[in-house]
Amino acid sequence: MRGDLDLVWLGALLLVALAVYWRLDPTLPRPATITILSAQFLPLILAAAGQTVVMLTGGIDLSLGAVLSLGMAVFVTNPAGNVVASMALALAVTVLAGAANGALVAYAGLPPIIVTLAASFLWAGVTLIVLPQPGGQVPAELVRAYNMGWYGLALPAIAIGLALAVWKLVKTTRFGLALYAVGGNEHGAFANGIDTRRVKIAAYGFAGLFTGLAGIGLAIQTGSGDPTIGTPYTLNSIAVAVLGGISFFGGVGRMRGTLLGALLFGLLSNLLLFTGISTFYQLILQGVVLVVAVAVKTLAARERVA
């Protein structure tokens, strides 16, 4: 219930942002605008969803941006010769990359921040081997359908909806509950017979899946690949998850919070673009908004405890 209250406050902020946005861009409710906006937001939403899964176990994934680029690179080089097979291959690669992070965290007992920092260099290097410079191919019809609508359907929005629906299902499985249990009290979970290692590996694997989807989405949106485009998504995804109420210590937070956080984050960035002020100030404002939002929430929580 406390979590719900946090989400209400986040939702209210989002509504304000939407109202302002609508005033500046009256085309907001039109299907075309929704399609473009959802295509623009999809990578961040899915990347943040991946980060959320990892953070729920009490971990953090600093290699997320690199894995995103890797997924994108594999996809655009079209190794399988057809789009669907390349997509599947790209996802397999990112899931394995994530699971490898998880295995190191679970078995070597290394702190997630170190493991994933090291992994970020590793995957960035691998990506550059796969795709040394921006390029690659995404079929033009797919790019058009994705960005302009397909028989009036906003494909990116549907993709986001599907991914979140899958998560909603996963969350209600034993694995989903075990994920929260490990994040909330790892020793307790272990003492109650939960295989905490397997849970962690699966969690990082899921993060890889979401991250791979984000990379593929970004490739289709831009029509080509870029081996370094993923980098900012690492920190942005963490910022969004924190904004959405996911605890750094694990076990607390919900995916819908992350979704609201990502939408707010994306809308704010666009709004700042509209204002026409320099990108320098935009960055400063983004930082301020983030600190204020998190501080308000933390202070409110402290009040309730005291």
Partner: protein
Amino acid sequence: MTLLNVERVSKSFAGVTVLREVSFDIQPGEVLALVGENGAGKSTVLSLITGLLAPDSGTIRYAGEPVRAWSPHRARAAGIASVHQELSLNPHQSVAQNVFLGAWPARRGLVRHRDLAARARPLLERVGLDADPRTPAGRLPLGAQQLVELAKALAADPRLLILDEATSALDDDQVRAVFRVAGELRERGGSVVIVSHRMGELLSISDRLTVLKDGEVMATRRRAETDHDDLVRLMVGRELSDMFPAKPDSSPVEPVLRVSGLAVPGSRAGVDLELAPGRIVGLGGLQGQGQREVLRALFGLRPHGGRIELDGRPCRLASPREAIRRGVGYVPEDRKTEGLHVVRSVRDNLALTSLRTLAPARALTTVSRRRESELVGELIRRMRIKAASPAQEARRLSGGNQQKVALAKWLPNRPRVLLLAEPTRGIDVGTKREIYHLLRELAAEGMAVLVTSGDTMELVGLCDEVLVMYEGAVVDRLAGAELTEERLVHASVAGRAAAGEVSRA
């Protein structure tokens, strides 16, 4: 057939033997109590049974089969469920989710929350807990959380239920509910192992009692063959003569520290105490009755109310910095996090509290290495710290030597008041003796010493006066001829002055 056989099991940690050839057995349809002082090895035995630890030698047989590759997972699958004093709940998940923690009932792979709540309700009823299964477990009061743990244990439909201090946070009604559950289980042929400090409880529920002392089984008695005094004798009966230094005749001295109405958040009553130079005062009672909080408050680690006078003048001890400046030293219970910098050298640890004198302002606050070496060498000699060299990392030392370092670092400042929490926990007998004699020496030099300990023998042997704490208040003060282990145990368990009471069972 015997359900569980523990046969000549031994276990040691970092060279300290915790269990020595421990043997006992549990029959179906029986409640067995494990009795012993803190540190007697009860928890270790239970951890071996539940698969959290593996024995160094000896065998554990469960239902006739020796257990191999035992783990919490396997123990649980084999029908062993446990409730510990330390909660294993996830505070962020709902009561229902916690009841089925790790074994959530799923239909076609999915766990339905309504289903979970419906299945949890009868279990919660059985343990007498009236709580909404959907509330987060962390929101319930401590006693209720303990009952959730019990419901969780019952959810596994156990053949062997382990209750490890499971009643410590419960009120009388809740304790009755726990015993009712244990009784029901026994009637259906299940077994229960119970550990509790409350002797009366044990005598009312158990069929047999096994007494542990210093990691060895002293005796196993049938309920009808024993009573409270017999058990206490078995628990504490040891030769005290050589272990502890002689106590000097105490003539009244003006106290250096006078505390009245000391209250920490969460405690109900204030604590009054006086510490005088040359005297060692102990804080006794059951575990977790507020002893630790008193020490932490006096060292400025915990916000507190009440009046503190040092040399007759009121003073504030709002932070460790202030406390140290006023001559208070603190050797904490958890030496690895608060007492020492375990990854730094012995030398760095010993010099840390003396930086003010080693690095004076006129030398641009740089540390004089020569004077540091002198100081460190002197402390290592005086305390007989066994380290390969002063450069050795503190974490490589044995527990006893670590404790000596944590204590020694205060000495150069010549503190007026020395606070020690569980000064000999996890330390071998020889070093214990050294520390007792050292504390007495320091007292004789004019220091006022305050010690908390869960070891009644230690308190009785070492202290001039012992204050017995119960639920955050001092309920009895024992000194002189009144200070005996039996009086102390009685007062600790009864939660009031033990005068005239022989047995509360």
